[in-house]
């Protein structure tokens, strides 16, 4: 069908706007500015091993893992309810879960400020009930909340879409053969939903580990993640070499986790259904 040459505009575009920029990141990551111009150096990469940056990496990883875990815990039961054929309201709920994603995410995140601030709505409620004022913002908890808030639908939808496809006959057969409810859940629902769970994990973890806006808006700059450090290197400090090195590490990190997750899911592709 068609000619190969139809692809040419894209092949040119791709080379200029995808491949060249990747090489530029590599170039900046492995060079430093000296009197003789740019020379090859590993200094930028070595700097990442400084305790300050290791801390930032660990913090980003921990917060992203925490929010992924919380999303999974909230989303799995929700997806099970939605996929239940006896549950009649599932279309309405699904539409309502998808709708907020159509609103600018910066704005939705920003709106949390009115709820979380020291004299925000939640604290007003808490105080009127006679409790102490709580510090809800400017900490890691607020960042995790922002991540869960923004990415929860990305966990619910893929899990729902695999659960809804599970053949009811399989479950009934298991029941006929004497399986308990918990047995059905453990031996049928969970294994068959694994591909959805894994793609949900990818879709939450990846944006969570690289975000810089959620941490900026909800922690007021107090919680610094890799994304924030990269942004700062490029737009504030002008240290493109170190910024590129950090981006490179982030990229490699994500590739490794993708490979890891894909390996987990490939085992199930040839499953029983």
């Amino acid at each position: 069908m068609g000619k190969k040459s139809y692809g040419s505009p894209y092949f040119v575009w791709m080379s200029i706007f995808i491949i060249v920029p990747m090489f530029l990141v590599l170039y900046y990551a492995f060079t430093i500015q000296t009197d003789q111009g740019m020379v090859f150096s590993l200094d930028n990469i070595k700097r990442i091993a400084e305790p300050l940056y290791i801390k930032v990496f660990v913090r980003s990883l921990v917060l992203a893992l925490e929010s992924t875990a919380i999303c999974l815990l909230i989303a799995y039961p929700a997806a099970m309810i939605l996929a239940d054929k006896k549950f009649s309201k599932s279309t309405t709920f699904l539409v309502m879960i998808v709708l907020p994603m159509w609103m600018n995410f910066l704005l939705r995140t920003y709106s949390w400020l009115s709820l979380l601030e020291n004299n925000g709505l939640i604290n007003k409620l808490v105080i009127s009930l006679g409790f102490e004022r709580m510090q809800l913002m400017y900490n890691e908890g607020a960042v995790v909340l922002g991540m869960v808030y923004n990415f929860l639908p990305f966990m619910i939808l893929p899990i729902y879409s695999v659960l809804v496809k599970i053949d009811n006959n399989v479950i009934e057969a298991a029941r006929d053969l004497g399986c308990t409810s918990f047995g059905v859940f453990k031996k049928i629902t969970v294994p068959l939903s694994l591909p959805g769970v894994l793609s949900g994990i990818t879709m939450v973890f990846m944006p969570a580990i690289s975000t810089f806006i959620i941490s900026r808006l909800l922690s007021g700059g107090k919680v610094s993640l890799i994304g924030n450090v990269i942004e700062q290197q490029f737009l504030v400090l002008g240290d493109w070499g170190f910024g590129s090195a950090l981006s490179l590490v982030l990229m490699v990190f994500i590739l490794i986790s993708m490979a890891f997750i894909n390996k987990g899911s490939s085992g199930y592709e040839g499953g029983i259904l």
């Binding site: 069908m1 068609g2 000619k3 190969k4 139809y6 692809g7 040419s8 505009p9 894209y10 092949f11 575009w13 791709m14 200029i16 706007f17 995808i18 060249v20 920029p21 990747m22 530029l24 990141v25 909230i74 039961p77 309810i81 939605l82 239940d84 549950f87 309201k89 709920f93 699904l94 539409v95 879960i97 998808v98 709708l99 609103m103 600018n104 995410f105 910066l106 704005l107 920003y110 709106s111 949390w112 009115s114 601030e117 925000g120 007003k124 929860l152 619910i156 939808l157 990846m206 690289s210 810089f212 808006l217 994304g227 990269i230 490029f234 493109w240 910024g243 590129s244 981006s247 982030l250």
Partner: protein
């Protein structure tokens, strides 16, 4: 009993997802600029909206860029998918893997890498650089929605059309394109939405006062947001909601 629990559980999730949106909508009608105090109902922020130059210009740029980016990326992406189909396995996989780079890469990495490119090419940051970046991150999504449709297309129908005297161009236009149209439409819509919603990549590749809506929200967030933006998002939200309802009513298929 259990059914009630299920509804309560889902309702709590909905409450969580909508809490900030409800607050945002309510405060767009607040008379005071302060986002913690309710001083009375007022439509003044809606009136202000149509006088705010920053917001209006951001609205203009957001939609101009989204429309051009969606059209161009759909064109290039659809042609690319057809062209890719003729490639040998090795080249096909190579192109496909490169296409995945912007999809898998964190936005911030795509953003800074494009920024490095524009500096290297000595482009001035502004409308053009932002548009080029948007087209770049949209094309892969178009390709990824068209390719599967192309795989389902029966090549013998295309060959039959040619046997019956159609030129390759006519055969492509009359046979292949209608067949892959759903993929093209999905790709276009995806590109448009991604472009409208983008913040990170625009943030790194724009300049010279060219800002989209997300960027205005971000810069306002530093100075303290102005309720006009609440008014705008309320309007946009209502618009999107009614659009979705209309589409949903028109074809009884669900949204997904």
């Amino acid at each position: 009993m259990i059914k009630g629990m299920k509804k309560i559980y889902l309702s709590l999730i909905i409450l969580f997802l909508y809490a900030p949106i409800i607050v945002l909508v309510i405060f767009s009608f607040n008379e005071s600029k302060n986002r913690n105090v309710w001083t009375g109902f007022s439509l003044k922020w809606y009136a202000e909206l149509f006088r705010d130059r920053d917001i209006l210009s951001a609205l203009k740029y957001t939609f101009i860029i989204a429309i051009i980016a969606a059209v161009v990326s759909t064109l290039i992406g659809t042609l690319a998918s057809i062209g890719m189909f003729r490639l040998k396995k090795f080249s096909f996989n190579l192109v496909k893997n490169v296409t995945y780079i912007p999809v898998l890469n964190p936005d911030i990495v795509t953003g800074i890498s494009l920024m490095l490119l524009f500096v290297f090419l000595q482009f001035e940051m502004g409308f053009v650089t932002m548009l080029l970046s948007h087209i770049t991150f949209c094309i892969p999504y178009v390709i990824l929605s068209v390719l599967p449709k192309l795989k389902q297309t029966d090549i013998s129908v295309y060959e039959a059309a040619q046997d019956l005297g159609a030129t390759p161009m006519t055969a492509l236009w009359k046979v292949v394109i209608p067949e892959i149209r759903p993929g093209i439409v999905t790709g276009f819509l995806l590109a448009f939405t991604l472009s409208v919603d983008d913040f990170v990549i625009s943030y790194f590749t724009s300049g010279n006062g060219v800002e989209n809506l997300s960027m205005v929200v971000f810069s306002m967030a530093r100075k303290g947001i102005n309720p006009t933006i609440n008014a705008l998002s309320t309007l946009l939200f209502v618009l999107v909601m009614s659009l979705l309802l209309v589409i949903n009513k028109k074809n009884k298929e669900s949204l997904f």
